[in-house]
Amino acid sequence: MIRVKNIRKTYSNGNFNVDAVQGVSLEINQGEFTAIVGPSGSGKTTLLNLIGGLDVPNSGEILIGEQNIAELSENELIDFRLHHIGFVFQSYNLIPVLTAKENVEFLMLLQKKSESERNERTLQLLKAVGLENQTDKKPNEMSGGQQQRVAVARALASKPDFVLADEPTANLDSASTQNLLNIMAKLNKEENTTFVFSTHDQRVIDRANRIITIDDGKVVSDVRNTIA
């Protein structure tokens, strides 16, 4: 479970301050498929960064399970991310010199998993995202949709408690988007992994079972999507 308690984040931008997140509190339960939506500049990326421990709030608490991540040192936080949080980036951010298999395997190498465990998990995930025949391809040999599917497989490779995905479909066409959403929904169900998206893509919003809307750094609505 993710618990966010009254967090605030202010950026200093030259002579003026930007209140990116203003007293946000929310709870995300295990297994939820949640979309954080809002217009550009509303603070959804900042909120995702704070939840993922990539940024530190000026005030408030973020608890992942029972761990208040603000109490972790920089190195502990990096280690915490490795074992508990998966990331999917808008521009995929795969390592260009590694193959699809190696990109997925990479986090497990950092986790010092055995070779057999790595191989088994990698092939399982690549099969789940429909890329079992593309294992030896490098990112520049794959389409955007394929690269993002590798990125999803990589995010899940370390068996995280939850996956944070910021605008994961922003660079994808309609077919690739639907394909990716199907895969993430399937993995959400099969592995009970929590997914939290920041997005303003209606196709993603339609598939989410919870929609949190923020504007000007504040939560303006938090609704369950029963249609999804």
Binding site: G52, L54, N75, I78, F89, S91, D166
Partner: protein, 386 residues
């Protein structure tokens, strides 16, 4: 590109150093072979006052030199300052009375004569070999007779008429200008002196010169034995100077290498900000990122360093055999005791030193870019993507 730049930089530096080193060694070698020799023995008073009466009269010295296993060859010289004149000109010169068979084992003047016969072929008149430079001043040539006037051992004027049988030209024009060679027995008669002023010695092992000098000094305390470094201090200074030049060049090469690596790795870090940000985000700790960047520059150095050093070794070895012909600058080089073919030379230990320095410099110079990478904030680097 950086690999090529590092390799070419190392090659350029080593090529310059080896050429300069080759020039220094050549100058030493030429000086030792043509006039300095490894060691010279004199009466200390002769060195101090230059009087012809201060000869070496120790009869045991020659026995010692003949028996010593450290001595490869020696030549004795009677040296008399003389005024020479011919029909075409005149000038001052030092007449070196020598025994040709011994002299040719010590110096290479014989090989630098226009005729191959050195002192082997002459008529009734006492023979003399003069330099090309002196011959021009005297307007003389082989076969010309010249008059040499000087003061003998008793202080009385003496005059000898010699016939030029050969003309030499060494790589040191200053030496050539003031030296001429006659037979020791001829000069001894004219100077009325049976002893000599100088013993020039070639050691069997050039590295053992100092030991031999100590040995001679302790056995013949009333004589002064000097090594080539003391006889021609400028040669020793050139050696020291070369060491300083080599060190400076090494520092310059290493600085260029360091800046090249710092620049490239900084560029790499900034170009890969997103990648590094992603690695930090997904859980690669800073120590691993630091080592990743360190390894990248070590790999660059490990590839480029040996390439540069191997190219340098190959090229320097090749030219140390075939030489670099700079005939267009022969006159200028001759005036400072150098030949027109330069043989670059570099000790093997220098290549090892260079290899070690390249690796150490590479490691040190990538610390700054690696630290810069660690200062990246993942959320900022990913701002456009997360």
């Amino acid at each position: 590109m950086l690999i090529a730049a590092i390799a070419i930089g190392i090659f350029g530096g080593l090529a310059v150093i080896s050429t300069a080193n080759g020039l220094t060694k050549m100058r030493q070698k030429n000086a030792i072979k043509s006039y300095v020799s490894h060691l010279q023995i004199h009466n200390p008073k002769y060195l101090k006052y230059g009087n012809v009466i201060d000869v070496i009269s120790n009869s045991k010295l020659e026995d010692f030199l003949n028996k010593s296993k450290e001595v490869a060859a020696f030549s004795k010289r009677l040296k008399i300052e003389s005024f020479v004149e011919s029909v075409g000109g005149n000038g001052g010169v030092i007449l070196n009375g020598i025994e040709p068979n011994n002299e040719r084992l010590v110096t290479n003047i014989f090989s630098q004569c226009i005729n191959n016969n050195y002192f082997n072929k002459f008529g009734k008149r006492p023979p003399i070999i003069i330099s090309e430079k002196l011959a021009k001043r005297l307007n003389a040539e082989v076969g010309t007779s010249i008059k040499c006037s000087f003061t003998d051992i008793r202080g009385e004027p003496s005059l000898g008429v010699f016939k030029i049988i050969n003309i030499f030209s060494t790589s040191n024009s200053l030496y050539d200008e003031v030296n001429a060679f006659v037979l020791l027995k001829d000069l001894a008669v004219l100077a009325k002196e049976e002893h000599v002023h100088e013993y020039a010695i070639i050691a069997r092992d050039a590295k053992n010169v100092e030991n031999l000098r100590n040995n001679l000094s302790s056995n013949f305390k009333n004589l002064q034995t000097d090594s080539w470094r003391a006889i021609a201090p400028e040669l020793g200074y050139a050696d020291k100077m070369m060491e300083i030049v080599m060190t400076l060049f090494l520092i310059i090469i290493m600085l260029a290498l360091a800046f090249g690596i710092i620049n490239t790795m900084l560029m790499a870090v900034f170009e890969r900000k997103k990648e590094i940000g992603m690695l930090l985000s997904v859980g690669m700790n800073k120590r691993k990122i630091f080592w990743m960047i360190l390894w990248e520059s070590i790999c660059l150095a490990i590839i480029a360093g040996p390439i540069g050093i191997l190219i340098s070794y190959g090229v320097i070895s090749l030219f140390s055999i075939i030489g670099i012909n700079v005939a267009f600058a022969a006159d200028g080089l001759r005036s400072v005791g150098l030949d027109s073919t330069i043989y670059p030379s570099l000790d093997n230990k220098f290549y090892w030193l260079m290899t070690a320095l390249v690796i150490i410099t590479s490691i040190l110079s990538c610390i700054y870019p690696a630290r810069k990478a660690l200062q990246l904030n993942p959320s900022e680097t990913l701002r456009t993507s997360v």
